[in-house]
Amino acid sequence: MPVLTAKQVEPELRRGSSTRMAVDVDPRFRVGDEVITRKMNPRGHTRLPRYARGRRGIVVRDHGVFIFPDRHAADGLKTPQRLYSVRFSHHELWGPNHDRPDVTRAGFPPINASIFLDLFDEYLESL
């Protein structure tokens, strides 16, 4: 591997290296679709965090097509996959526990918060 020189630093940083792919892949989901994330426990790399597996959310944005990192980490192959922003309610991810330590009793309304994750197409199933 060639060693980075001082002169290359500025142009290399400015250029960056987007993982976006100029390939069209049909979206399986549309903005507004209700989805459930897969339950999975791969041995290797994934970008679907444990706390959001098997949870229901709503697609809020289609980011386009990117290198699928799970596969790229496994064998270096750059396979295209659609990436979506998916919104989950705090209650869906964490249940009735409350965000305020002074208010822990059951029956208190769920906190007014949502968590958004960027998730690849194959992490998701239709509801």
């Binding site: 001082a6 960056g16 987007s18 976006r20 706390y51 526990n97 965000d99 007014n112 968590i115 998730l119």
Partner: protein, 204 residues
């Protein structure tokens, strides 16, 4: 070394970095001049002042703000900021009803071209674990208390999209120009764990 103790790495880490650096240079895997250039870039050239310029422009120019919210990478590029760890940007607008904050629960993803390198707390396990489960409590520890009816949106940067929060323009800042406004924009307000500074009241 940084004089900001709350951001300072542990002494063990410093020693380990020095040992790795000399080993990599000795084996010819790293050019020390390139290393100096990289460090200089993120110590003196690329940092949260870039993001502050973006925010101040959006506060002053509604057309720019619309471009920023529609295609953030291109709009940020208009001000000359682009590149590594900011290739695919999304800007999140705070409103009286919605407060956005950003975390990377998987590692430390952060929009370098506009904010520089992430602070130590952003990379720490407690922030990463707690931001998604008790955002209101985390915000309170940063000194931000929001009404219960303000919706908190936590953005977990799980893929290659990088997020920048567009905070609300502080009240009483109508008379300030773009440059003065950018001075009110803090790093934390663009991560969503802080608010911009209030303008200093002029004696009239």
């Amino acid at each position: 070394m940084s004089k900001h103790h709350h951001n300072a790495p542990l002494p063990d880490t410093v020693l380990r970095v020095k040992a790795l650096e000399s080993l990599l240079i000795e084996k010819g895997l790293v050019d020390p001049e390139a290393l100096d250039e990289l460090i200089d870039t993120y110590e003196t050239k690329v940092g949260p002042r870039n993001g502050a310029a973006v925010v101040a422009r959006a506060w002053c120019d509604d057309n720019y703000k619309q471009r920023l919210l529609t295609d953030a990478s291109a709009a940020i590029g208009e001000l000359g900021f682009s590149g590594r760890q900011g290739e695919d940007m999304v800007v999140l607008e705070n409103t009286p009803d919605v407060h956005n904050m950003v975390v990377c629960t998987l590692c430390s993803c952060y929009p370098w071209p506009v904010l520089g390198l992430p602070p130590v707390w952003y990379k720490s396990a407690p922030y990463r674990a707690r931001a998604v489960i008790e955002p209101r409590a985390v915000l309170a520890e940063f000194g931000v208390t929001l009404d219960d009816d303000v919706e908190i949106r936590v953005w977990d940067s799980t893929a290659e999209i990088r997020y920048l929060v567009l905070p609300m323009r502080p009240t009483g800042s109508d008379d300030l120009d773009e440059h003065a406004l950018s001075g009110l924009v803090t790093r934390d307000s663009m991560i969503g764990v802080g608010l911009p500074q209030a303008p200093v009241q002029q004696n009239r």
